[in-house]
């Protein structure tokens, strides 16, 4: 979500996004501020990251070192109907990786971890069972 806020008569263009479960990013100019939420819903500031330059053509999402998975498993059984990523891609938390079809439902499996895709372990039209590994991250 992009918005403009004013603090002490100065306005800032900011962009708020959810990086992953309980990790939010507020982008102000060329700096990212990361927040998490505690049990009462209070936002807690985690850390600040700056980009070397705003003009950098390809920016890789830099996020704090929170626990994350190296293997993305499917919580649901189905037939692989679409693979949304390639080996070597850098994926963000929240990104759709695989669509599984089951009983005419479309189930998009998202990664809640981030990183570079090392290996895609499934093929299109393959049946996968619950808890099978879909992809591994480096």
């Amino acid at each position: 979500m992009r918005t403009r806020i004013s603090i002490k008569n100065k306005s800032y263009d900011i962009e708020i996004s959810k990086v992953k479960e309980n990790l939010f990013k507020v982008k102000v100019k060329n700096k990212d501020y990361f927040f998490t939420q505690d049990k009462s819903g209070e936002l807690i500031f985690l850390e600040k990251r700056g980009y070397p330059s705003l003009d950098a053509q390809e920016r890789i999402e830099i996020v704090p070192n929170l626990p994350q998975q190296r293997e993305i498993k499917t919580p649901i059984a189905g037939i692989v109907s679409k693979i949304h990523i390639k080996e070597g891609d850098t994926i963000k938390a929240g990104q759709t990786i695989i669509t599984l079809a089951a009983m005419k439902m479309e189930n998009e499996i998202i990664s809640e971890s981030y990183g570079k895709v090392k290996k895609i372990r499934v093929k299109k039209n393959q049946f996968v069972n619950t808890e099978e590994i879909l992809i591994t991250l480096e």
């Binding site: 759709t96 009983m103 005419k104 439902m105 479309e106």
Partner: protein, 253 residues
């Protein structure tokens, strides 16, 4: 299944690419459960596998955002929606609506002499449930298209599709049928898995029928004997073996 605050909010659009896509866009920016996205027409209405769903003005197209439920109950959403649509058509319009596993709602063709559609049924409504699932988060959208006041269908759908208007010769109030559906859906949502499956079986027509099924590059023939408790189709092959099918293309013999 599970209970939560059941207040329904409506969002109306004159035209969207598809109500399911609009629902996903809204979900990215946080939206309340039990929000209903209603459109007068869809530019890119789709069903399973991105098959287009004929969506001109005159039909009822909506998507319902479901509160987070456990993974094992997700597959019941298609069933709940199919039952709620079927019951709406039966109770409000006296139509003999039935369900073809898993997500099609049909009514008998008036002219059964023309064998243009399998079994002498025509499709009147369709359901597409889409889930976005991560390790910790689950979002479900139930998309429904009901042919309410559609007068004419294109040639490719003739003999295959019909509308409430064509069946009853009366125009219907979309909001009334939507409210009836939502009430039914929320009531079923509280029911147990076994009650939902039993209700589903009351209206489902595949049991006892011969089918050809294509799945995972295989083609088999057999007779549908039942559903297992996960809702998968159980097909009995000639040699007596029973296989379970979660996903495939069904062709009635």
């Amino acid at each position: 299944m599970e209970d939560s605050s059941r207040k329904i909010r409506f969002l109306y659009y004159s035209s969207v690419s598809s109500t399911n896509l609009k629902a996903r866009e809204l979900l990215r920016n946080k939206v309340h459960s039990w929000t209903v996205i209603v459109a007068q027409s869809q530019e890119k209405g789709y069903g399973k596998g991105e098959n287009p769903w004929f969506s001109p003005p005159g039909g009822l197209y909506f998507s319902l955002i479901i509160p987070e439920i456990s993974i094992k109950n997700i597959r019941l959403l298609t069933f709940i929606a199919a039952i709620a649509v079927t019951q709406s058509l039966r109770k409000k319009f006296n139509l003999e609506a039935v369900i073809k596993w898993p997500n099609d709602v049909l009514v008998p063709s008036q002219n059964t002499l023309k064998k243009s559609s399998p079994l002498g049924f025509k499709k009147i409504a369709g359901i597409l449930v889409e889930n976005v699932i991560g390790e910790r988060s689950k979002n479900s959208i139930v998309g429904v298209g009901i042919n309410t006041n559609i007068e004419k269908f294109p040639g490719s759908l003739l003999g295959k599709a019909t509308s409430i208007l064509r069946q009853t010769a009366k125009s219907v109030n979309d909001k009334e049928i939507l409210d009836f559906f939502l009430k039914g859906f929320q009531e079923l949502f509280k029911e147990s898995e076994i009650d939902i499956l039993n209700e589903y079986k009351k209206y489902e027509i595949l049991r006892g029928r011969k089918v050809n099924v294509s799945f995972q590059d295989k083609k088999i023939s057999g007779t549908v004997c039942d559903f297992d408790k996960k809702g998968a189709l159980m097909v009995k092959l000639k040699e007596g073996r029973i296989i379970r099918i979660l996903e495939g293309i069904l062709e009635l013999v």
